[in-house]
Symmetry: C3
Subunit: 243 residues, 3 copies
């Protein structure tokens, strides 16, 4: 599955909705047992959440957007498919979250590409289920430091702390992802799926129990004047940069 | 304590029952404060659960067998004794579980010997308390990948991920285990026992709270036609291999 | 903030009380956003709890003392300030606990200095919240072994297991701590504080829910004849050593 939402694969509401529908089709199609997630946009895996969905809209829109983000995470994190991330570009924030839901992460060995949950750098806070996903991957201490500082790790560092599983030359990312996929495909499927659920169910249940409260929390946070101002300032800087 | 249930130290119902009784005696004997678990069978530490106990029997037998497996784990995991595993042979599945309940693991540096919870490879799923024991030892991410793929780690890899604590030449496994034991013996005993309980009680309580449900779960899983068929096919292959 | 309770910065009741008051002042002073914890006593960061507060006193005193220890931990662990430990000396038991509450730990590269929760070596047991703090830092398996054996790690080992984040020559400990502080200061403050709370709240709540029971537990433990005897013997040995 190749993400194609130029220029940077932002997770817009429309992108999220279409992604969840495609994923559901693949889950129900017995012909598909695994998916490689990768990007069709040069040098960006995914820039993460789409700030324009969080700026200058009404509370109902914010709520709808956040439910779509939750839904994507829940579908990916508990997917019966084998998911392998072929990280062929920058992978911050929500892009990193998607990669973390996969069963295996292959990253291109290009020091310009970085990966991490860098929310604090923008003055915002990663939700608890982003945090839980990160802790499950790199442990409590690395997660604490990475989240507080909003660290973006270059490939070698990401490998060292366990944020990705393999770093390969850029032109081998896809082929490596496919050979990893073959290894995971060789496992009896039902046993593998039950084992994945065994590992991840408690973390998913944590969000399911608090889903509405988490939406309310997001809506009231993002509706604050101070947050709106800082997001707008950030967007303005981005546009001038592109400009 | 040397396991002697040739040829591969399968955890038969009789073996489990005798093991628990011996362990209880040692726990109550003030003269014993630590035990080295090792194997008397060449090149196998323990092959794990005895599939013949899970094949072609009635539900009451399956329930009795599973309670015995639970009992062994509970006794070992919360043992007041210092337990050191001297892993002098292959150590898959239930064999690995026993090693993981110890306070320290020394493994022979022989790449033919491997260790891991490889249940998915047989089309079955490790129970949640096998999973909890593994997560406590190697962390969530390594456990997730190892359990889904049913990985068996050679000694050097096992050391790298923390599945064992020390790898030594095969003829030094016993002496190293004894010198590790001496180090653990030097600690004030009551404080050490309380500390062990502090670390492990929550994990043991997890099973104690759900013990009956876990037995029911095992019985209904193993009674399925599909599981019986795949276990019988596996046993047949094993017998032909030997035969 | 330089600890100055010669000769070894024991955490006496008076020291704890003054420490908490100073910390509260700094928390409320908008001019302060971070604090480096270090020692003014040569070759000791802090020797930890003051055994003379736990010896030959009455239960009311023990209870008051233990509440003060809890209070210090709660304040430090959930502090809104950036806390960096500049560990310029030995750092056992309660000294190690204080270091573990910080956001970052820099240690002097002097093999005479060691760090760890060595309670079992004195025949006592680290409370569950000492244990939780250690598990959050180094993971379950390293914590289990370190706590049972009461291990004190020299700097290189402490770095390897993640008990400290950086080891530098002794004369660079302070300057390194300050440059680390600058890095943490650069993060938008409110987002960083909320993220810290997100990571640590569950662990702090664990103690808050059981605070009274934990005091009772300490009082009855320390009041035992056997514990009083072993503490007094230990203190006597310490005094002879000095004397």
């Amino acid at each position: 599955m190749r993400f194609k939402n130029p220029p940077v694969n932002s997770l817009s509401l429309q992108f999220l909705t279409e992604f969840v529908i495609s994923l559901e089709k693949l889950e129900n199609d017995k012909g598909f047992r695994g998916v490689v997630l990768t990007s069709d946009c040069p040098s960006v895996f995914s820039a993460g959440l789409d700030l324009t969905e969080m700026c200058g809209r009404n509370p109902a829109h914010y709520a709808e957007y956040w439910k779509a983000v939750q839904e994507l995470w829940l579908r990916l994190y508990l997917s019966n498919l084998v998911l392998v991330a072929a990280i062929n570009g920058a992978c911050p924030a929500g892009g990193c979250l998607m990669a973390l839901t996969c069963d295996y992460r292959v990253m291109a060995d290009n020091p310009k590409y970085t990966i991490g949950l860098n929310e604090t750098q923008l003055g915002i806070v990663a939700p608890f289920w982003f945090k839980d996903t990160l802790v499950n991957t790199v442990g409590h201490r690395v997660a604490e430091q990475a989240l507080q500082l909003g660290l973006l790790f270059p490939p070698a560092e990401a490998l060292r702390v366990g944020l990705v599983d393999r770093v390969v030359p850029e032109d081998q990312v896809q082929s490596t992802a496919l050979s990893v996929m073959a290894q995971w495909m060789a496992i009896p499927e039902h046993a593998r799926q039950l084992t994945k659920r065994l590992m991840r169910k408690a973390t998913a249940d944590h969000l399911l129990r608090q889903r509405d409260a988490d939406v309310q929390n997001f809506v009231s946070f993002v509706s604050r004047d101070s947050i709106q101002k800082s997001l707008q300032a950030y967007l303005k800087r981005l546009r001038q940069k592109k400009g």
